[in-house]
């Protein structure tokens, strides 16, 4: 392999699903505990905080993969063009939305990490009240709903692309079934994510 285009791209694709996509599912599931009230959420959050080797796990399983995925993703997005005006096919729209949602997520996740994880490192306790405070600003609620939907979309559609990219879904029929399956994942995960947002309001 003369240059690493191939490996970089495959790593980008893989890391988006494992561990970043899996982490998204865990994260949204923990958030969903808030629908059972502040106590349930605080318990779930403190369980996550109590994991041994927490910082190591965070760096290896979250920060480094998401940084690589995000930075290389920005490169992918900016070497693309959009022609949905001339070719308004479904997959072409998904292609465009995948790039737009990805770029939006770079901003959203940076803000979200600053407001929660870094705030926690600087001394604010990570609890139900932290999120409830953030959501006292209704613009933040809108921002977070957009963020959750973008993340869930980017993951679901990205899962489809991953399956194509790794040669799992090859025929038109397989790719169509994959589209339906990932659409179901989008709806289900979206429900979990949005319910959690409203549980903090």
């Amino acid at each position: 392999m003369a240059d690493n285009d191939f490996a970089r791209h495959r790593w980008h694709s893989l890391l988006g699903v494992v561990p970043v996509g899996l982490f998204l599912i865990v994260h949204l599931t923990v958030n969903y505990q808030a629908t059972d009230g502040p106590g349930a959420f605080n318990q779930a959050a403190s369980f996550m905080e109590s994991l041994p080797f927490l910082l190591f796990l965070e760096v290896i399983l979250i920060y480094l993969p998401i940084l690589f995925h995000g930075i290389y993703g920005i490169f992918i997005a900016f070497t693309a063009t959009s022609n949905v005006g001339r070719f308004g096919f479904f997959r072409n729209w998904m292609y465009l939305l995948q790039r737009i949602s990805g770029l939006f997520l770079v901003i959203f996740i940076a803000w979200h990490v600053w407001e929660t994880r870094i705030a926690m490192a600087l001394g604010t306790a990570l609890s139900y009240d932290m999120m409830a405070n953030i959501f006292s600003n209704s613009w933040m609620v809108v921002f977070y709903i957009a963020g959750v939907l973008a993340a869930v979309f980017h993951f679901s559609n990205g899962l489809w692309s991953f399956c194509v990219h790794w040669g799992i879904l090859a025929t038109p029929r397989a790719q169509k079934i994959g589209t339906y399956a990932t659409a179901v994942i989008f709806v289900l995960l979206g429900y979990v994510g949005i319910s959690a947002v409203f549980a903090f309001i």
Partner: protein, 265 residues
């Protein structure tokens, strides 16, 4: 009313009328583009090529000014050579199979802008032929002596491989691909599909690893962003996205062989 008599009626209504073509023109590679309109006398069963020929016979634009006849490329006139590809009413396709009766009027013609424009509707598709050379889109049978008959190909394989062989390097898939642009060096769907075709051939497979390595490098298969426009616009109905997905699998296997394996092919 029968279909035939309706056609006759339509024909007679339009017999005396003209068809307007609005052509995006450019006098040379580095010149600015401009639009020029032409009215050509309607004839039954015209296609875009015959309309362009009518303009060439009498190159007078709608303002009544005599102008240079618009240039275009053509060759086979039966949609197998790919030379007359252009944007027709915003869609990249071949001018020979674009029938005037089936097109919305006025008809807008423009060059495919993914490629360098030579003049008017003539574009330079060299990048596609360069890509075919890069991926060795041929079967290696040349030598200093007669190699004899090659191995047979299974009919079940021949069936799908034949579909891929219909590619005429027309450039329509590159024109529709949002990842084929000035910011990327992606070779595009057509040459990738040819890798699948020639790797499927029993003798072509002698270069299989080489081809896979080429498309695992710069401008290769990783340039695909799955917009799947290529398969939607391909005039020959070639399953381009299936080819790309199959090559995604083949390159994956190849990368594992490269990394962990020893036996070279």
């Amino acid at each position: 009313m029968s279909v035939a008599s309706e056609e006759r009626k339509q024909g007679s209504e339009q017999e005396l009328s003209t068809v307007r073509l609005i052509i995006t023109r450019q006098d040379g590679p580095d010149q600015a583009s401009y639009e020029e309109s032409f009215d050509v006398p309607y004839r039954k069963n015209m296609n875009v090529i015959s309309a362009l020929m009518a303009i060439r016979r009498r190159p007078v634009n709608t303002k009544g000014e005599e102008t240079s006849p618009p240039q275009w490329e053509m060759n086979c006139l039966e949609e197998v050579c790919g030379a007359c590809s252009m944007m027709i009413n915003g869609r990249p396709r071949q001018a020979c199979t674009a029938l005037i009766d089936k097109l919305e009027k006025p008809i807008r013609l423009a060059p495919m802008k993914t490629f360098p424009i030579v003049r008017d509707l003539v574009v330079d598709r060299s990048r596609m032929f360069d890509a075919l050379k890069r991926v060795k889109a041929w079967i290696p049978i040349d030598g200093t002596y007669d190699l004899g008959a090659g191995p047979r190909m299974a009919e079940s394989k021949r069936e799908w491989a034949y579909e891929l062989s219909k590619c005429m390097t027309c450039g329509v898939c590159l024109e529709a691909c949002p990842n084929v642009n000035s910011k990327s060096d992606f070779i595009g769907p057509a040459p990738l599909s040819q890798v699948r075709l020639f790797n499927a051939h029993p003798t072509g497979a002698l270069h299989k690893t080489e081809r896979l390595h080429t498309i695992m490098g710069k401008g290769g298969i990783e340039g695909c962003g799955n917009s799947q426009n290529c398969v939607e616009v391909c005039p020959k109905g070639i399953p381009l996205t299936t080819s790309i997905a199959e090559l995604n699998r083949a390159t994956l296997v190849q990368s594992f062989k490269d990394f962990f394996g020893s036996d070279k092919e």
